[in-house]
């Protein structure tokens, strides 16, 4: 196979970005859409060829596009790594991405900035492909930041929505917090290995001390938590739903948010060295899975329910990584990409049908009016709820079974409760949207219409994948998927296989009962006795309000971090301005100030310079006293003060034999 074909995978969408970005205004929307879709289609085709080749030959393949940063000891190529893990990611990203692009042509039809939308979408594809294909941490990081940037641009796509603008900024800044951790991990890797290439780092990972392995793994985890919206950095994802629905499907469900899971799986060699980090990953994942599911119970915006569901499902993947079930985590990543993209896109179809309505309290009774959307949404719901034998059943059950078999009973319990809640809120969503009495106003009800074929087509394909997507992983722990992925994510210690068939089937039975129980409760509350739900909410108002307000976490973060930083900035700004406001009063005083200053310098600076240490306190005190009224010499005073602090420090330091606190700072 040819190297250029691998390089071409991200280049196709890049060409489309340049074409649509630079020349897009000169041709019609139709052509822009075709360019965008066909570029991703070509990437998908290339990815299929690469995948087929990987199936035949196996092994790891590295392709250098060009020498990128070579300075001193820092050597970084722009290069790609093709192995089973990146093949799976490539197929998911380009395949699901292609379907979503097709769907978007219909969904965004007639919107202002249609070409701009596809430029950003293709730029996203380029970044995401760099992320999953890179052979070193820096290429991964470029993709990582690139997808964040595109996510920012696409969330803020609707210019006129203030909430969208706020959500976009929030997403970017929260992600940057995670990125700071990720960057620190990159620097630690470089410090320890002197290189940033995966193959070399993982080959020598065994030399890391346990503490350093833990430090790197935890820093990477901070990055993963930010990108994959886990506790405590999940708050941006629900807000990100302000963007157009295809964006939510592509970026905030199927691909970008799973980057954290990919990154942990890619770095499993480092995680395997640190039980503490593994436990942290598992706990973060398990807690998030349960926590987000509880919030999802009461939300009323169709996309927000799905957003919390995404956070929760990502929690399962983290849980899988944390207990060493990397294959199961990637398996769940894949099936989740199918059914969550399906759910978002069909939710988009519902919103489309209702002319922009997103509140499920104003829906209902749509099953007859939009039968295709209803059918595929139902399939998505069955898949995510874990109903046998749909995709979600196999992957989620595998993670849970792995937890149970390896004696992580608490985590298993959390996952099981989470699964019950998932099943409940998904069926609640389905009932409220498609069944019962129509609750939309008359005007909307008349205009309900099924979406065009270009939107239904991708939905049907995704529905098909949601049904059969689980079979590559059957039988659990020993399916085709596991054998294929084994070279990439095989743990250092062989995974235990000595599990009895009875236990496996038993756990599957439990999982099915859980899923059915959630369905049953939802059926009872939202179909059989519709008034019971409100009664339940009324009986525990505190719980209901807390959940509805998402545990007040956003407010808490505002109080704790956002406001204090702003206040500090304003306070210092005030300090800067107040000190100098004397100047505004008149230039006349300036001469006087200048004259005063020169005497002052003569008297104190030069004199003090000769007797620095003795006069330091006196002068500093004088300078600070003068800070109140505000004249130019106060600038000078600040400089002198700064200088004296430095002199103090260095002299103290110097007299303590050049050691002292210097080492402590390092």
């Amino acid at each position: 196979m040819y190297d250029w074909l691998i390089i071409a995978i991200p280049v196709f969408p890049l060409v489309a970005v340049l074409l649509n970005g630079l020349l897009g205004s000169r041709y019609s929307h139709d052509i822009a859409g075709r360019i965008a879709c066909s570029s991703v289609g070509l990437s998908f085709a290339a990815a299929l060829v690469v995948f087929a080749d990987q199936l035949q030959t196996g092994g790891v393949r590295e392709v250098i596009a060009y020498r990128w940063i070579f300075g001193g000891d820092l050597n970084i190529n722009l290069a790609f790594l093709i192995d089973p893990l990146s093949c799976i990611m490539l197929l998911v990203v380009t395949g699901v991405g292609f379907l979503i692009h097709l769907y978007s042509v219909g969904y965004m039809h007639g919107e202002e900035g249609f070409t701009r939308f596809f430029t950003y979408m293709n730029l996203f594809m380029v970044s995401m492909l760099l992320l999953v294909m890179g052979n070193n941490y820096v290429v991964l990081f470029i993709g990582w930041e690139g997808v964040g940037l595109c996510s920012y641009l696409l969330i803020g796509y609707y210019y006129d929505k203030v909430s969208a603008a706020k959500a976009a900024t929030k997403a970017f800044v929260v992600n940057r917090i995670g990125d700071a951790g990720f960057l620190l991990a990159i620097f630690l890797v470089f410090y320890n290995f002197g290189t940033l290439d995966y193959t070399q780092v993982f080959a020598h990972a065994g030399q890391l001390s346990p503490k350093m392995a833990t430090a790197i793994a935890l820093c990477l985890l901070v990055g993963a938590i930010g990108k994959s919206a886990q506790l405590p950095l999940y708050t941006w994802l629900p807000d990100a739903m302000e963007g157009p629905t295809p964006v939510s499907a592509l970026i905030h469900a199927a691909t970008m948010v799973t980057a954290g899971v990919y990154m942990i799986a890619r770095n499993h060699t480092i995680y395997d060295l640190s039980p503490a980090a593994m436990t942290t990953v598992a706990v973060v994942g398990g807690t998030t899975a349960l926590f987000a599911a509880t919030i999802g119970l009461v939300q009323t915006d169709i996309k927000r329910v799905l957003a919390y569901s995404t956070v929760s499902q990502l929690g399962y993947m983290f849980l899988g990584c944390g207990i060493g079930a990397y294959t199961a985590a990637i398996f769940h990543l894949m099936t989740h990409a199918f059914f969550k993209a399906l759910l978002f896109l069909s939710a988009g179809s519902v919103i489309h049908a209702l002319g922009g309505e997103q509140d499920i309290r104003k829906m209902g009774g749509l099953s007859k009016k939009i039968p295709w959307t209803h059918a595929v949404f139902l399939i998505g719901t069955l898949a995510i709820a874990g109903i046998f034998p749909l995709a979600g059943f196999w992957s989620k059950d595998e993670i849970m079974a792995h937890a149970f078999v390896h004696h992580h009973y608490v985590l298993y319990g959390m996952a099981a409760i989470g699964a019950l809640l998932t099943s409940f809120y998904m069926f609640r969503l389905t009932y409220l949207t498609f069944y019962g009495r129509p609750r939309m106003d008359h005007h909307r009800a008349e205009h309900v219409h099924e979406s065009p074929m270009i939107m239904i087509g991708p939905l049907v394909v995704l529905a098909g994948l949601s049904v059969i997507g689980g079979f590559p992983g059957v039988p659990p722990e020993d399916g085709w998927f596991h054998h294929f992925l084994h070279p990439s994510v095989a743990a250092g210690a062989a995974e235990a296989h000595g599990v009895g068939l009875g236990l496996v089937v038993g756990l599957m039975g439990v999982a099915t009962v859980i899923a059915l129980a959630g369905w049953g409760v939802a059926h009872y509350l939202y179909s059989a006795r519709p008034e019971a739900a409100d009664q339940l909410a009324a009986r525990a108002p505190a719980v209901y309000t807390t959940l509805l307000n998402k545990y007040y976490v956003d407010e808490l973060y505002d109080r704790l971090f956002v406001e204090p930083t702003k206040k500090l900035g304003q306070a210092w700004d005030w300090f800067d301005r107040t000190i100098i406001d004397g100047l505004v009063r008149g230039v006349g005083e300036m001469t006087e100030g200048g004259a005063w200053l020169s005497t002052w310098i003569e008297k104190h600076v030069i004199y003090a310079g000769l007797n620095v240490i003795g006069y330091a306190n006196h002068l500093t005190a004088r300078a600070w006293r003068k800070l109140q009224s505000g004249m130019v010499h106060h600038y000078a005073a600040i400089i002198v003060a700064g200088l004296f602090i430095l002199v103090h420090l260095v002299v103290v330091w110097w007299t303590t034999g050049l050691s002292g606190f210097g080492v402590a700072l390092k």
Binding site: W68, G71, W653
Partner: protein, 499 residues
């Protein structure tokens, strides 16, 4: 000290760029007063032409490997000096092109404006070659004189006058510190050339002398705690002057700082790392946090500049050749991103006569080109890949981690997060907020050239930085003697994480 002034033509060749520029600025001045009808706009192009010749000359020097010293080692030409001269000349060309529209605002002395800009550039080129304490003092003052006038160039604007006076008084004050520091160092060592004073043993007088010099240079680069003049001066000065002031003198001062710390003070590295770490942390944190509160784009860029200088100081704190490489590279990324951002501030200021961030609302609808370019420059300043600023930050942080400067690294990374916020606030205003006035904005040709050049630099340094990296690596070859820290600090293996 014997002082001989025998100069051969071959020696003078080393000063050819400076000599030519001196001649050229006399030509500019002469044309200006002897041909009153000569269009001022053409003076700008004439200045650019002269600078282009200087640039070609410098590139020739660099290719030919021209090195040497003059006047008893006061003036040195080596690859680093040539690098900084090219840095200064490129900045000056872009600043002059960006000034053409703005100069129309001046009521008097339009021609002298270009003369003063060229003169400051000349002074800074000498700074890049300064190799002993006396030439440091003279060149530093020489380059600053032009700025004293330029900052106060808007004669009717009280803010500009204030800024000029403030800058002048504090500049003189800093000059006093510098002279005093130099006299102490000279008094202790009896030597002036930077490489000669390296051998002197540390005495209290010498240390205080060096600290005074550092304070004066810290003033020049606007590092905290010597930054206090920056916001008001940047705010009040004519915007092209602010752009010039925010880039070129900082570059020239770093030429001196690098020589001072890496040559004269190489042996005392353990002693000054802490000093630089503190200055760096203070600059980054202070600059970024105060920037959040700004309402005026020039003040915002002023504080952002303080923070950026904090980042550059990380490379100095690393104190290795790689740190030096990283500084040179970072300054180039800063040149394109910061100049580009200021070019847009100038363009927008010319068109809507405001520098308030509020008035950037909806810029994307009035001029998608300006908004997009600003987005790229701000993201580069914030260090978002694959733009130039990212490679600069990566390079400088890698240099720091190799020396085990964990605390500095972590503070730096936290600051990257904070800075993202205020850059994004501007982006949000440009892209999302509604404009008050919907009329489209058009950009003049020279301004477009500046913006395109800055965009090209910002993208090229990010996507294909290798040629520039090769250049900076060879430019700092003379620092290859500086290796890992001596025994005075903890060996790099004894780290908090036990690596």
């Amino acid at each position: 000290m014997t002082f001989s002034l025998t100069l051969t033509p071959a020696d003078l060749l080393l000063m050819l760029p400076e000599l030519f520029l001196t001649l050229w600025l006399c030509v500019i001045l002469t044309i200006d007063f002897s041909l009153p009808r000569f269009p001022k706009r053409n003076l700008a192009y004439l200045s650019v032409l002269g600078l282009a010749v200087v640039l070609a000359n410098l590139i020739w020097f660099d290719r030919a490997g021209m090195t040497g010293t003059l006047f008893n080692h006061m003036f040195v030409v080596d690859r680093m000096a040539i690098f900084f001269k090219i840095f200064i000349v490129v900045t000056t060309i872009l600043v002059i092109l960006a000034s053409i529209d703005y100069v129309k605002r001046f009521k008097f002395f339009k021609g002298e404006y270009y003369f003063l800009v060229l003169m400051s550039a000349l002074g800074m080129m000498f700074m890049a070659s300064a190799n002993d304490l006396l030439s440091i003092f003279i060149t530093l003052e020489f380059s600053t004189f032009g700025f004293y006038v330029l900052v106060a160039y808007l004669r009717d604007d009280p803010a500009s006058n204030e800024a000029g006076l403030k800058f002048f008084i504090l500049g003189v004050f800093a000059a006093g510190l510098l002279a005093y520091g130099i006299s102490l160092v000279y008094g202790e060592t009896g030597k002036l050339v930077l490489s000669d004073i390296a051998a002197a043993p540390a005495t209290p007088g010498l240390i205080i002398g060096y600290l005074l010099i550092f304070a004066a240079l810290g003033f020049k680069i606007g590092a905290a705690p010597f930054h206090s003049w920056i916001p008001d001066t940047y705010h009040g000065a004519p915007t092209p002057v602010t752009a010039f002031l925010s880039i070129a003198p900082k570059g020239a001062a770093f030429a001196i700082l690098l020589r001072l710390f890496f040559i004269s003070l190489a042996a005392f590295k353990p002693a000054w790392v802490l000093l630089l770490v503190l200055a760096s942390i203070l600059s980054m944190t202070y600059g970024n946090i105060v920037a959040i509160a700004q309402k005026n784009i020039k003040r915002l860029l002023a504080y952002s500049g303080i923070a950026q200088i904090g980042n550059v100081l990380i490379g100095l704190a690393a104190g290795t050749k790689m740190g030096g490489d990283a500084i040179l590279f970072y300054l180039l990324t800063y040149l394109f991103a910061n100049l580009g951002a200021f070019a847009i501030v100038i363009a927008v200021g010319n068109l809507i006569n405001s520098d308030e961030i509020e008035d950037y609302n909806g810029l994307n609808r009035r001029s998608p080109f300006l908004a997009f370019a600003m987005l790229v420059f701000l993201l580069s300043l914030a260090g978002v890949p694959p733009l130039a600023g990212f490679i600069g930050k990566l390079y400088i942080f890698i240099a720091a981690i190799k020396e085990g400067l964990y605390v500095l690294l972590i503070v730096g990374l936290i600051n990257v997060v904070i800075s993202m916020y205020y850059y994004l606030v501007v982006v949000k205003k440009m892209y999302i907020n509604e404009p008050v006035d919907n009329s489209p904005l058009t950009v003049s040709a020279p301004m477009q050239a500046v913006i395109y050049a800055s965009l090209a630099g910002t993208l090229a340094l990010g996507i294909y930085p290798q040629p520039i990296i090769d250049w900076v690596v060879s430019a700092t070859m003379m620092f290859s003697h500086i290796v890992a820290p001596a025994t005075a600090v903890a060996p790099s293996t004894a780290l908090p994480f036990g690596g």
